[in-house]
Symmetry: C2
Subunit: 491 residues, 2 copies
């Protein structure tokens, strides 16, 4: 998940100045109108140590009118707090209607830290997360807007920050080193907490914090949208990763895919044969072990999904697999929850199901084309994670592929299709229309990867400008995953 927050988003000094001015005016106006409204606003400042949480907070406070704004830090427990139930400290600091409260540290802090340092058990940690969800539901049910900001820094960037602190003679934060040593554990624990509490009613805003200007502006925009919702009495708007979608040329996780990856024809044919033989054997072993596999294919139009699927099914005994192409839903499917059609098709233990497009349509095409309401696709991330959790708990191998090509490559393929009689049917008006919304789709893919890239069900972003490379990567990723599952079963 967090890797998607390490793509080097930044804002230039000039751009920052221009946007800051605009943002301040908006914030002050909204703050004034908030005073008359029925909503308390609560902003949680959280994230990796060294991400500059204190600096963000200073910046936001600088932009706002200090009246009606409170800040509370929760770290050193007082006697007063220790002598009462844990949530008492938060309850007494809650903002009233029309007020804004920033919490530096929050109800997440203690469960996460305790888990990082192994001071609580897994079951206690999970119980704490359930309690958090109840508390946030209680607050939002009552009309409060809870803006949860998470600032991320890569391990390297954290090390750099630590080194520069030491250089600057800042020895005031002795715990920084303890955290830096446990970076991976902290990331994995935080990720669990975020996934479990990234609900439709109270979503997380995940912000890359490497560039201070981007970080501060993104936080400011999120706060502006939150105040807007409070004033209008609306639901919190869904967080748009790339908090600054207006920024031209905003990078996404797709920009980090190395599209130059390719293989030669002889290499391809040799590896393909080998991979297919291997996969064919593994499929039977998986069947004997009762392990089933769900492979999801998503990707740009003309990225080569069909070809990759055929190379996979060619390797498999037809008794062992089904390919499920996802087109527009049937009447019966439309009458049910959008996940229903996918649950129906879940294979029995031991079998393969290949989805040509999938439940991710909810947060891709349905989001971009407006077929689903923002509230609907927003809560779909959590619903999808829960769905996939159930699959992996059952022992299913879940593979999620995004086949990535450049817009130029797509154009070339579209043109070739139009020229080739037996491919003509594959290209429609709709493909051209989708192509025009490339950037919107890229943003949707970015957020999809960010929010559904769980440790048990990671996304594989496959470079597919070279079809041969893509096919091999899909096959080999599948082989590895099934081998790992078989090894784990043999345990």
């Amino acid at each position: 998940m967090f890797e998607s927050l390490e793509i080097g988003r930044k804002v230039s000094k000039e751009e920052f100045r221009a946007r800051e001015l605009e943002l301040r005016v908006e914030l002050l106006d909204l703050q004034r109108r908030l005073r008359e409204s029925e909503s308390p606003v609560l902003v949680l400042i959280s994230g990796v140590e060294g991400a500059g949480k204190a600096s963000v907070l200073h910046r936001l406070l600088e932009w706002l009118d200090p009246r009606g704004v409170a800040t509370h830090a929760f770290w050193d427990e007082t006697d007063d707090e220790r002598d009462r139930p844990y949530y008492w400290r938060f309850w007494r600091r809650l903002p009233g209607k029309g007020e804004i409260t920033f919490m530096f540290g929050s109800w997440y802090t203690k469960p996460i830290i305790d888990r990082v340092f192994k001071r609580n058990r897994k079951a206690d940690f999970e119980r704490a997360l359930v309690r958090i969800r109840e508390f946030e539901k209680l607050l939002t049910d009552d009309g409060a807007k809870v803006l949860k900001l998470w600032f991320h820094l890569s391990s390297k960037a954290q090390q750099r920050r630590l080194a520069s602190d030491v250089k600057a003679g800042l020895h005031g934060r002795p715990w920084m080193k303890a955290f830096a040593r446990r970076y991976e554990r902290f990331a994995s624990v935080s990720q669990q907490a975020i996934h479990f509490t990234d609900t439709g009613f109270c979503p997380w805003h995940l912000i890359e914090a490497t560039d201070a200007r981007y970080r501060d502006l993104a936080a400011g925009v999120a706060l502006r949208d939150c105040l807007h919702a409070a004033v209008a009495g609306d639901q919190l708007p869904p967080p748009v990763e790339a908090e600054l979608p207006e920024l031209a040329g905003q990078e996404t996780v797709l920009d980090r895919v190395d599209l130059s990856a390719s293989v030669t024809r002889p290499q391809y044919e040799r590896r393909l044969r080998k991979d297919q033989r291997r996969l064919g054997r593994l499929a039977w072993q998986a069947r004997d072990a009762g392990i089933n596999t769900v492979a999801v294919f998503e990707g740009w139009d003309a990225a080569g999904k069909g070809g990759a699927i055929r190379r996979m099914t060619y390797a498999l005994d037809p008794r062992l697999y089904r390919v499920i192409p996802i087109a527009a839903p049937t009447d019966e499917e439309r009458a049910h929850h959008y996940l229903w059609r996918f649950w129906r098709q879940i294979p029995r233990g031991g079998y393969f199901t290949i989805y040509d497009r999938s439940w991710y349509g909810r947060v891709l095409v349905e989001r971009v084309e407006g077929f689903a309401e923002p509230a609907e696709w927003r809560r779909a991330y959590r619903e999808i994670n829960e769905f996939e959790d159930q699959l992996t708990e059952f022992g299913t191998v879940v593979l999620k592929f995004w086949l990535h090509i450049s817009p130029e490559e797509q154009l070339a393929r579209f043109k070739e299709r139009e020229k080739t009689p037996w491919k003509m049917h594959k290209i429609t008006e709709e493909d051209w229309r989708n192509r025009e919304r490339w950037d919107d789709y890229a943003q949707a893919v970015h957020e999809m990867v960010l929010r559904t890239n769980t440790p048990a069900c990671p996304w594989h972003l496959v470079p597919a400008n070279d079809k041969k490379h893509a096919r091999l990567e899909v096959l080999e990723t599948t082989i590895e995953a099934i081998e790992a599952a078989l090894d784990a079963r043999r345990g």
Copy 2:
């Protein structure tokens, strides 16, 4: 909790016939309109073995038009089901828009049964409940109406049912005996499940099943209200315990309180002195052990709350207690969540806090007088249980008293107050108005006890027609609870 479902509600044969006719007409009409609507309707039939779940289902099916109605029983697991994630079996049986599905057994069955027979661990059981809540949220977010019916039978009634089955030569249900032997355990596990999943968006309907006619009518009325909400596109209406509020003279849990309880003056004075001395000593011991006590006083106007509180505080060192009278909220309190004002006042470890009226105002006066919306007071039960859970987890002794008097006794006390110069100020127009709504309050009290009578924080319904008796009972209940907490602490 379940005791409140053992008050002997019943319906006569004549009344049943009249109401059945009316209900069938309504149900058929609503069912016809449901077909055009956007809501699937899902009815879960659950409860104690022997409560007649199959009979209720037959009755409901008899009342409805069979078109668009499906019934699924989940008990014998098929191979098909075993080979897929647990929820697959439910997903494939979900109703589409405009359809009604009855589930005989549901996603609750396996976690509860496994827990009763100790086939899963506590943490697994809790995880299963979290999953249930996510699933029900997903369904209701998508517009489905999920009606959860729980049918209750007392242990004695279950034994009678078992005996009559055996007499009738019905040996077809061998598991009945296994359940009858584990009645208490089944009740306690079910209670946990119900409390955790009794959410505002998907509440439980709890129905006393001793009398078949009452049971069936109550289920029918709940279904009618559910269909009504589905057709109107409204939220599910809050379940009203006493599902048949229209029934004149409906009994409540208060009717089981023995108001004849009394003590003589000499007995009273002797026990009072002894109790007060004992409580005074215990309060210091509790302070040294860091155990705090929260005592909640609710009851009818003129039931003697003030007097009972004074007898308690007289025993306590003033340094150790605070009395918090709850009147109309201040401006500041009104600007926050209704629980905020109570959280503020939570005592530190070792102290006593006495609430003269409390957070239960939300589900009593605010409900009856319409100060809170149905959705607001409905979700308050779960919020209150969660609040009290946090207190007891912290080690607080939570005592909840309802001081009960008869309407006649109240009238006599009102009249006396009006005649007595130094009591005149205690009686207002409002008291007379409240008195007129006695039955509505009694229903609200009944449901409050039903839904918030948790094992860790039980309600004490104190007979208070005799003030002396009430005071002693309050003192002695308090003493016992603190002694138990001290013993537990000493281990």
